[in-house]
Symmetry: C2
Subunit: 375 residues, 2 copies
């Protein structure tokens, strides 16, 4: 019984619409997942998240494992009760964060040894631990513990890490205790198409509720990322959701959907919001720019988000210049709404089989406006 139902397919590309069933409700795909690293999407109340169109959010196992600890979260109602979010939650496995520590981490067949970035204490996470932690957190979608591959990497480095990821994935699968939480495998393989294919096939043999594509958007050129995507998706079953991890820009989302991706997450909308960079239908807007000093217009005149309904560019610029907390709040609401609305527009376009047209217009508006907008 698959938790994924395919609803529509584009007749001209790999774009598709579907629905994922989870313990906390259904998710319409393609979908963008706001990142709530430390049991909060930075600066956004859960009610605001729901209002802006978020269907599912992401929590970071590594961060929550270190602070406040998964056992504590379990006793406080799991991540849902702890953070007052009753919709679906996906947790990553901690692999990516541990690998980001590099010198502080050591990988063995058994698992990942690392030091806390908070206090330097020695910690260890095996594939089985990663499942246990995520079961305690109570997320709706869990991820296997994987080994990330730096870019660039030699073929041998990539092959070894990919093989280990495969063995760990099987151990994660075997460690499930039947909670009804979904488990996704993660395809690695670095920038080697044959390794990507092998990794995908091995994971599919093991069998997961969904398949993520890891190790992309780690510094490689955009074309390489897209070609890796094209080398991977065809080897995944069409009756399972495909999740491109940690990606990306609005353009990346459109290109990912076109290549058959169903799920995305990225810190970009919230991080950029805190830095005063806003996404609009006509490109990017840097709110501190002096040209917005007395601009009475909303960030995006076509946007229906809370921020655009009630506040001017001039006010948002004032808040940003004054380093007010409200700047992060309002900018984050806008950017997340932009991402979620973009996904909703893609879902509609796919359902009406006009995705290619949607994509052409998406780029055309940005190009035609690039020279004249926001002045």
């Amino acid at each position: 019984m698959t938790p994924f139902r395919l609803l529509h397919r584009s007749s001209t590309c790999a774009a598709r619409c579907g629905e994922i069933s989870t313990l906390h409700g259904a998710i319409r795909t393609p979908v963008f997942m706001p990142v709530g690293t430390q049991a909060t999407v930075k600066g956004v109340l859960p009610e605001n998240l729901k209002d802006l169109g978020a269907q599912i959010i992401l929590g970071n196992t590594y961060h929550l494992f270190i602070r406040p600890g998964h056992q504590l979260i379990r006793t406080l109602g799991g991540l849902h009760g702890f953070m007052h979010w009753q919709g679906p939650i996906l947790t990553d496995s901690g692999g990516f964060q541990i690998f980001s520590l590099r010198e502080l981490a050591r990988i063995t067949e058994q698992g990942a040894e690392f030091r806390s970035h908070l206090d330097g204490s020695r910690l260890f996470l095996s594939p089985e631990d990663a499942i246990q932690v995520q079961e305690a957190l109570g997320s709706d979608i869990m991820m296997v513990l994987d080994t990330c591959i730096p870019y660039p990497a030699t073929r041998q480095e990539a092959a070894e890490a990919t093989a280990l990821t495969g063995r760990w994935a099987r151990r994660c699968r075997a460690a499930l205790s039947g909670t009804g939480q979904l488990l996704f495998g993660i395809v690695q393989g670095g920038m080697y198409t044959d390794l990507r294919k092998e990794s995908a096939q091995e994971l599919v043999d093991t069998g997961f509720d969904g398949y993520a594509i890891g190790g992309l958007s780690v510094g490689e050129p955009k074309e390489l990322m897209l070609s890796m995507l094209e080398a991977t998706v065809p080897h995944l079953p069409t009756d399972r959701p495909v999740y491109l991890m940690g990606v990306g820009t609005p353009e990346d989302l459109v290109e990912g959907v076109r290549r058959g991706v169903d799920m995305f997450d990225c810190v970009m909308p919230t991080r950029n919001a805190r830095n005063g960079m806003l996404f609009t239908s006509q490109g990017r807007l840097v709110i501190k720019n002096a040209r917005y000093r007395d601009d009475p217009r909303p960030v995006d005149e076509e946007c229906t988000c809370y921020t655009c309904r009630h506040y001017s560019r001039a006010y948002l610029r004032h808040l940003f210049q004054s380093r007010e907390i409200l700047a992060s709040q309002l900018n984050s609401i806008h950017n997340l709404h932009y991402y979620c609305a973009l996904m909703a527009a893609m879902r509609d376009a796919i359902a009406e089989d006009r995705f290619d047209e949607f994509r052409r217009q998406f780029y055309a508006r940005r190009q035609s406006e690039a020279g004249s907008h926001h002045r």
Copy 2:
């Protein structure tokens, strides 16, 4: 025609209930006004402010004059439109902030010369300018430009500053252009009861819509503040609202109301919230304390605020320890709700003529719980 309607009076003390009519609606008194220094109550959306019971908020003329400028705010719909708050707003005159600059400010008969704390540029504000700026901001209640008096001050210093405040108050009154915005005078006099009385009488002779008591809570002992209050209020007309500026703790609010004060403002609830100090019916709670690590209870089990309805002490502690923006948001909502609910409880007690009983219980609960609470 007075904009203040007296509704109830305590039979045992000077506490009273009333209603102030403004261009943006009526305010029930006694009332606490959250401080929105830079056209935002730090970390709180206007909708959250309304939900937590805020009737009127305060804006700072000094800050808004410097950035983004009152003319800009006027063109963007006044402070109400600019910051998306449709309830009443009171603006201070800038006097207190300018005096806080001390070495950067020079006071002459004409007005206050000062340097911007942002870029050091030379600025000047006369009493007439203060009115013009506040009329541009479009606040519902404007304050006269006053000269604050440091504590301690000699009698001569206090007398001179008080006399100048009186002359400036008349100039402010004369500068009104008939917008319907209310104007309050500010009683000074330092810690000299005779100067307080003189100042009050002079202002009453000039005639204002309400009277503020300035220059208190500037470092003097609590008893001195209360005795200055007692030396001032009896010289103010009972058919005008009385506003104690910049005060204070929950205890100060109770003592102020008992002595006839109708309005208060203070940064304490929001500033303390950002520092992790929460007000409760049983005293203060420092959220970072390790004892709250796994505490599933809300901040205050009797509180009905958004934060207490949905989040545990353990979660709030986690957010604070993790330096998350949401900590400031949720803590500010709670503390402001505490202040507003305290005022509502006092209004009810006065209406039912049981204010003394209310006050006894207010202190009794804190004392009885002081040793056992929050452990």
